[in-house]
Subunit: 226 residues, 2 copies
Amino acid sequence: MGDSTRIAATAALLGDPARANILAALMDGRALTAKELAYAAHVTPQTASGHLAKLSDGGLLAVEKQGRHRYYRLASPLVGQMLEGVMAVAGPEPPRSSTWRGGEALRMARTCYDHLAGRLGVALADALLARGHVALGSDGGEVTEAGQNFLDAFGASPAPGRRVFCRPCLDWSERRPHLAGRLGAALASRCFELGWVAQQRDTRALVIPEIGWRGFRETFGIVLEN
Amino acid sequence: MGDSTRIAATAALLGDPARANILAALMDGRALTAKELAYAAHVTPQTASGHLAKLSDGGLLAVEKQGRHRYYRLASPLVGQMLEGVMAVAGPEPPRSSTWRGGEALRMARTCYDHLAGRLGVALADALLARGHVALGSDGGEVTEAGQNFLDAFGASPAPGRRVFCRPCLDWSERRPHLAGRLGAALASRCFELGWVAQQRDTRALVIPEIGWRGFRETFGIVLEN
DNA sequence: GTCATGCTTCGGCCGCCGCCGAAGTGAAGG
DNA sequence: CCTTCACTTCGGCGGCGGCCGAAGCATGAC
């Protein structure tokens, strides 16, 4: 009957821990094999296969055959946005009893699509905001003139001319906005370029070498605990 | 283990048709009694009671006692955004076999928070875009100078000075963006003011009287079929 | 007090779905 | 050819969870 059966069907796909694990593992846009996803979801390959079939049928995943591997990835950015929406509501897990260092790293700094998230991402947004380089509303934001000059000097001016798109993106671990949009992407890519942050294998968590800590402190006044 | 169990738990709340119906019925922000929601979900009051308890425990609904009634509403706008995210992915239901006039009306014109959605909302966005009054990216948009003049004349300039926030919001029935943000809100409120659209009881669907059809045609060049 | 109403709790039934072991496909490599 | 590896399909087990009838609290009206 109602249209909501479709909503329920889609939501039910996310409503299983194994499937949620699979989707979370794909959040950064990479394509992973069925086996890797089985490992990420903590289930056997048979079980994962069933889940992957359901997710594909439901239009959440796209699959690509390559030799005897099958690479799965999110079917569209829409799916990622949906997941972020659910994460924002699900909220940060209740204060975890220390341990679990990977999670800690994720909360410190990670990628969110093509921009920076985690405490680092939020601190960056705060810094730009506090210095009047960007003005942010709940719906979008814009770069001030001073901000434009600053970005030019930093080497992170987003692409075409004066038109700068910038959008707050709710950080699921911090529950506060970080910068997305072209501005967020430009900032992130400049930080990679400078070697202030670096990707790791098999995780969205970022490494911040000494030069990065120094850079963020001297350029943005960011000092993160821990 | 991971954080995704929380995601799964939250998503599982949406993954039941009855609960999805309940949430969909609350999407417009109204507060409804348990009985009304039971009716909306097509289940008995006992069953609905169980669902409502789960949704409240999960933090998706807020409840307010009033005499012997209990009014339920969405706990926060975040929940609404999450639902829109899921709807966007779930997509428009497969072409409905006519009948169901309420659904047709909803797809023609409805409110989405404080702005206009449905075919009307999308057409409005298209018109402003085609005339060069707004420039839209996937992350945000801005009003051109010509657009600002047009909006001033129309009486729908968003609040403070030059800073105009505008954001595309994916329309779940049309799968195309309509205008949200302050601009969307200002446009909608001006349309209400002019009597071009009117609210109805118990539905987010909007009525468009003759004067509205004329206004949209003459001012924006919008002519909607049906 | 008694009654009606709105909502919740209890108990039992039933079905769906996630899980894994085992067997089946299909592609690479020798 | 046969082996290996990645992945899927099959079959059966087990349990979670949605459903409703009936009974239990409340609140408000009389």
